[in-house]
Amino acid sequence: MNLVESLKSSLKNVFSNKMRALLTMLGIIIGIASVIMIMSIGTGTQNYISSQLDSMGVGRINISVATNNRNIARGDLMTAKDYKVIAENEDIKYTAAVYSGSATLKLEDNVTTNRASLTGVYGQYKDITAPTLLYGRYIVDNDNDMATKVAVINDTTAQKVFGKSDASVIGEKIALRTNRGTQKFTVAGVTENANAAMETQYGDQFPETIIIPMVTLQRLNGTDEISQISVTVNDTNQMDAVAAALTDRLDRLHGTTGKYYAQNTSQMIETANNMISVMTGFISAIAAISLLVGGIGVMNIMLVTVTERTREIGIRKSIGAKRRDIRFQFLIESVILTGLGGILGLLIGWAGGKGVATLMSATISITPIISFSAIMAAILSSCGIGILFGVFPASKAAKLDPIEALRYE
């Protein structure tokens, strides 16, 4: 008897008692569904966190004055000198400095205003942190050297101020009111809105993010302070060492100890991933127990089936079925039961993942992801359980004596 014949006849048998088949599969379905659901959400969350951290920059170190340090002297603040010192470090690829401020922005109707967070940028910021440019250009060194009044705004802001977002916006003016009065800035570039997701959530309360040259902003505020220096390193495996070297260097420059703090994105990703793997592992362990119980249920039903069908086995043997034919038939049936359970579990887990993601969409936007290897693992493990727990009943069936089996009532 070949595989196709066995499959056909086994499918027929499984489907002839749908209720029983479904109940038998339940343990497998629950086990697979929960693993798939948790994995899809876990992977989705992992991706979400990495993309959030990525938008801050990959392999990036942010250096600032430690915020938990209460007595910050004027001399402790970072300035262009610190920037130069850090940029000189040979383990560093790109360096950028940021000085932040705030302002209000006049919108299209020329009456309404919106809060704006001003990011004064300096150095190679476009290689570290800048959102994708749509039209125009980024802030360049010359803008800082000349302290020009140019701005890079995002898509959404362009819509709000000009009622449109296209190349024609470049060269237009925006009005920013700071504590030094209203300043006109020329739009030099338009980028994608990196905070689009958060903005839809918080609505108009979310400030417009406007990028201008750092020196321009420092002059407006009458300071030479730098809020944060960001760097990317040549070798991401060396991030911790480089971060320590940089903060030490700044402490030496200012004659302080532990005044500077380096935030390292790879550490954050690692922490998040660890948390997720612990959770996934825990749920998987519970699911494994469910699969074990499901497998025992399958074995139980297969033993019942073999007993019920003793006469059929006798008939098949009497007309020439060999042991392996009978063994194969029952093994295939048990694999169909668990395999089908696995596929159902996969579908339910996938739907469950989508459901959970929808429920959570108010807080974070997760796209549940089921990898190809997860699908293969689910199907293979459920089929494997079918073989593992089907072997014993199938061998029992195969060993039946034809005469005794035929006589069975």
Binding site: S16, E312, K317, S318, I319, R323, I403
Partner: protein, 268 residues
């Protein structure tokens, strides 16, 4: 034709705990090709025990069993299964059809295990069903068929792999006399066309259709006599009763005969 079955000093002992039942005591017996043998005897005389061994469903305790000159008395399970599949057609008193399969699928089953490809299998099954006069109702499940029809399906199934011998243990035991007569008619036709048949029966009327009667008593052969004037089964007895669908059956048989005739003519 040569010897199909040869049995020498065959002993079968059933063990039930400490109790031993000797169902066959040193039986010697042989069947030539194209014989039609009836085995008779009182209940418990060892007829079924004998048939099961002949059918390779069971092994003798002692003695030799040659099937077409090959000693099959102590073969392994799977080897016996292969012999059951290819060389033996077994017909049971209780039909033993698989209830979930159609008549046609039941007939195909031994050929499935023999690995006959699907198309060829179907054709052979249809041929076998035609030989037993069952060309309609082949898509029906066993429980939608009458006892006589079920037994005809069972015979067709036994014919599938063109066996060396057809064994039947009380094939008419569960049938009324008319259906029994039909079955005997089929056996006689098959025997006329060359089949070797050994069947068990309790009824002298049925045994009278065969060519040789072997009588068992207490696990031994009491007598072994040829039938001088075998009775002919009244073929088409069903047509006489005017049952629905039976006309078709008999006309199909006639067609089959015609086809054979035409073939013969072509050769001549």
């Amino acid at each position: 034709m040569g010897v199909v079955i040869q049995i020498k000093d065959l002993v079968k002992i059933y063990k039930q705990g400490s109790l031993e039942v000797e169902a066959l005591h040193s039986v010697n017996f042989s069947v030539e090709g194209n014989e039609f043998v009836a085995i008779m005897g009182a209940s418990g005389s060892g007829k079924s025990t004998m048939m099961n061994i002949l059918g390779c469903l069971d092994r003798p305790t002692k003695g030799a069993y040659f099937l077409e000159n090959m000693d099959v008395s102590q073969l392994k399970d799977d080897k016996l299964a292969e012999i059951r599949n290819r060389k033996i057609g077994f017909v049971f008193q209780s039909f033993n059809l698989l209830p979930k399969l159609s008549a046609l699928e039941n007939v195909e089953l031994p050929m499935v295990y023999a690995g006959v490809p699907a198309g060829k299998r179907r054709q052979k099954a249809l041929d076998a069903l035609e030989k037993v006069g069952l060309t309609d109702r082949i898509k029906h499940k066993p429980n939608e068929l009458s006892g006589g029809q079920r037994q005809r399906v069972a015979i067709a199934r036994a014919l599938g792999n063109a066996p060396s011998i057809l064994l039947a243990d009380e094939p008419t035991g569960n049938l009324d006399s008319r259906s029994g007569e039909e079955i005997m008619g089929i056996f006689q036709t098959l025997n006329r066309d060359g089949s070797t048949i050994v069947m068990v029966t309790h009824e002298p009327d049925v045994a009278a259709h065969t060519k040789r009667i072997v009588t068992f008593k207490d696990g031994s052969i009491l007598s072994d006599k040829p039938v001088l004037n075998p009775m002919n089964a009244i073929i088409g007895s069903q047509a006489d009763s005017g049952e629905a669908g039976s006309d078709k059956t008999s006309s199909d048989e006639a067609e089959a005969e015609e086809a054979n005739g035409a073939e013969g003519g072509a050769i001549a």
